[in-house]
Symmetry: C2
Subunit: 420 residues, 2 copies
DNA sequence: AGAGTTAGTTCGTCTAACGACCAAACAAAC
DNA sequence: GTTTGTTTGGTCGTTAGACGAACTAACTCT
């Protein structure tokens, strides 16, 4: 059997908050070990249950090496042996699966009116999913930090009761988050320059696990990458459909945050020159012509209150289902503008998939086709360069799920818990 | 002294045309060696002349390891020892520099009317720079391949005469190039689905070095990254200013080509809805409102002929220098539209630098300030998220230079020539 | 001359991948 | 049942190569 080719390889580092410009890191044996442990872990995640022999055959690693790596992963309680295979020629194989019981990854999504917390095990299966009211828009950032920390503590104690070790906590915030986990600007929350990652770590008093903060669209993209139906996709853009619109950009399999961490601000791209004014001070931003604010302003009497977005969207859906021509027309216009934004993304980034998330999911029946058609008509590459426009199937907690996925990603890329 | 932190590391592969979806590659000792050889090579490139001790101190590698790695690189004729240091306390250091003499990297830039070939040594210093007329727009793709191959052969024999081994050849093409080096669409050249990389390799009959093809904007970005004055920048966008406008996108230190290789098609983003028609069939594309066609159509009687772009631009420059209000007004409008395009890039990708290349360089005195102001006014992040708009200093052969740089990049990332 | 300082090499240690071999455990053929 | 073949997974010795410590070399300064 042919061994998979070993190409020229290069080491990359993947930490939030590591000193920039330190240049390329040299490699030593521990890096090889970490890489191979991660390779085996990911293989089992994607092919469980599987045997050591399967791993060796598929990855090209030596059988002896695989045995050693698997033993290490079992020591660290990341893998578990299950039963043997039966009714096959030859010695039966002992099957391996991810051990779901000892660990938890926690994600919290902060929003204007509510707060979602999820915990998942190594397999990505949900352990808990809480959603509660949260006066994010009206509270001070200090109060908000206290509130988030409170929820985080409750999740952690719950996990501890289940005898699980928390591997990490990531918080999703709708706004500009820099690479150190500071929230530079979150207009809807009324935040500016809040060191959320630092403050949370302080509030949790040496939690023993990393606390990270990231943009909600970025984490939505990670959620799609891990939990969505996009097998093997390496280039994906996720769009949040809320009052604001944000993009999470994955290229070559990893989030691309830009120089300062502020990539994905598609909501303030000018789509309609001289169009309606945006709260950001400009006009015709994607957000005001394809966000939900514009839609609800014209369908809901008395304007939009962020705290009651969901029932208002539901009303729009009902009226659309009933065939209300005013609503259908507004949705069509929104879809057209959204498609223009997606067209820009397709031309500039050539992703394989653009995923619509947030409230766009509920509106999909009336906007997806038009938006896709608009995108395809605007992309220079024939057929949009292979770009598909699809709807997220992850529901509301997508960013929270992505926040947990970010913790799992750091495990997958070599940051393993120590053996017992 | 503190040793640089070793973060979790992950192996990535970096070949054009490697089978997709093969998953993460496991690492072995040869990968460690290749990585560290590349680390030393890059360090010397950036810090030459330097001693073994310098390398060890800065990279964190052990002195003994550095000695071994340097010996290997000298065997491969990539490094060379120069004189000793003098007048310093302690034993004098033997200084190391890149060995410029044994190798050459070749880049060829194909254009509608001309063809640029450059060869550089390991240091990136130019060995030759040819520019000759080339009936690209009017010839069949077969004739074009023959023409390019002819130039390539002449460059190779010239290099061979200088006792240099050619490490690789990259060809820059203005158009959509897929990940296998096929030109899918090059409107200005009149090409569609030309397997340029394959055809060239065939025409050169087993050349003994890799032949790659890439988009001109992508390679322009690589040229800026390597030869431009942007030390340490990891997120950069390069804009070609020709009749068409293209973008090369570098995020996290590497080109991001998108799912099919078609990223960077900024020229056909709609900037002015309902604006002037573009040859692509749409209206108001960036290319028609900020490309050179629009400018020249209105300043040069009788329209634009691609073959005579340069003198026509020179005339525009002269009239601008003379204060011609019509020209100044047109340039201001162009700058405004360009700035809107750059604003989109800044919002979506948050690069540290956007570099204007091509003929934008000549026009910079009249467009740079306005375009930057427009971009800054459109970026959501304060101060454009740190994004600067600058002018390329590389001159016309930028894409050809970038094509050669791509060859050097593959060396830098571990694809070293074998020892003698 | 001797002390101090810095550069680079040598040597032994250690990690971890690899190849070859082997025992265990089964199915199928006899 | 016995034998044969197949597959799994482990053991053992080899090997690549990074690392640390000790050592030698070559200079400056006093």
């Amino acid at each position: 059997m042919m061994r998979p080719t070993r190409n020229g390889a290069q080491l990359i580092t993947n930490t939030q908050g590591s000193a920039p410009g330190t240049g390329p890191q040299p490699a030593d044996f521990t890096d090889v070990r970490a890489t191979n442990l991660a390779v085996v872990l990911r293989f089992v995640r994607e092919n469980a249950p599987c045997s050591r022999a399967d791993i060796a055959a598929s990855t090209g690693l030596n059988k002896a090496t695989v045995s050693s790596l698997v033993a290490d992963l079992i020591d660290r309680r990341l893998l578990r042996e299950t039963g043997l295979t039966e009714n096959r020629v030859g010695r039966p194989a002992t099957m391996l699966v991810l051990d779901g019981s000892p660990y938890a990854a926690v994600g919290i999504e902060v929003n204007v009116d509510y707060l979602t917390a999820v915990a998942v095990d190594l397999k990505g299966e949900a352990l808990l999913s809480w959603r509660r009211a949260f006066p994010g828009g009206s509270a001070s950032s200090g109060q908000a930090v206290a509130g988030i920390a409170g929820v985080a503590r409750r999740v952690v104690t719950r996990m501890t009761k289940e005898a699980r070790q928390v591997l990490g906590l990531t918080v999703a915030v709708p706004g500009l988050v820099d690479l150190g986990g500071s929230v530079r600007l979150a207009p809807n929350m009324g935040w500016r320059d809040v060191d959320l990652a630092g403050d949370l770590a302080k509030a949790l008093r040496d939690p023993g696990f990393p606390v990270l903060v990231d943009n909600d669209a970025n984490l939505g993209a990670l959620a799609e990458l891990r939990f969505g139906p996009h097998g093997g996709v390496r280039d994906l853009v996720y769009l949040t459909g809320e009052i604001g619109v944000g993009a999470g950009i994955v290229l070559d399999g990893r989030l691309r945050r830009g120089g300062a961490g502020f990539s994905g601000e598609i909501g303030h791209i000018e789509i309609v020159p001289g169009g309606p004014p945006c709260h950001c001070g400009r006009r015709g931003c994607l957000e005001v012509v394809a966000g939900l604010g514009a839609l609800l302003d014209r369908t809901v009497p008395g304007g939009v209150s962020p705290a009651e977005l969901e029932p208002e969207i539901d009303e729009v859906v009902q009226r659309a289902e009933a065939g209300d021509p005013v609503v259908l027309d507004l949705l069509d216009t929104l879809a057209g503008n959204l498609g223009r934004g997606v067209g820009i993304v397709a031309n500039l980034l050539n992703p394989e998939v653009v995923v619509l998330g947030g409230y766009y999911v509920k509106l999909a029946p009336w906007i997806l086709a038009r938006a896709e058609q608009e995108m395809l008509g605007r992309a220079l590459a024939p057929g949009g360069g292979g770009c598909r426009l699809v709807v997220s199937g992850l529901g509301y907690g997508a960013a929270a799920l992505g926040a947990a996925a970010r913790v799992l990603d750091s495990v997958d890329s070599g940051r393993l818990p120590a053996p017992a």
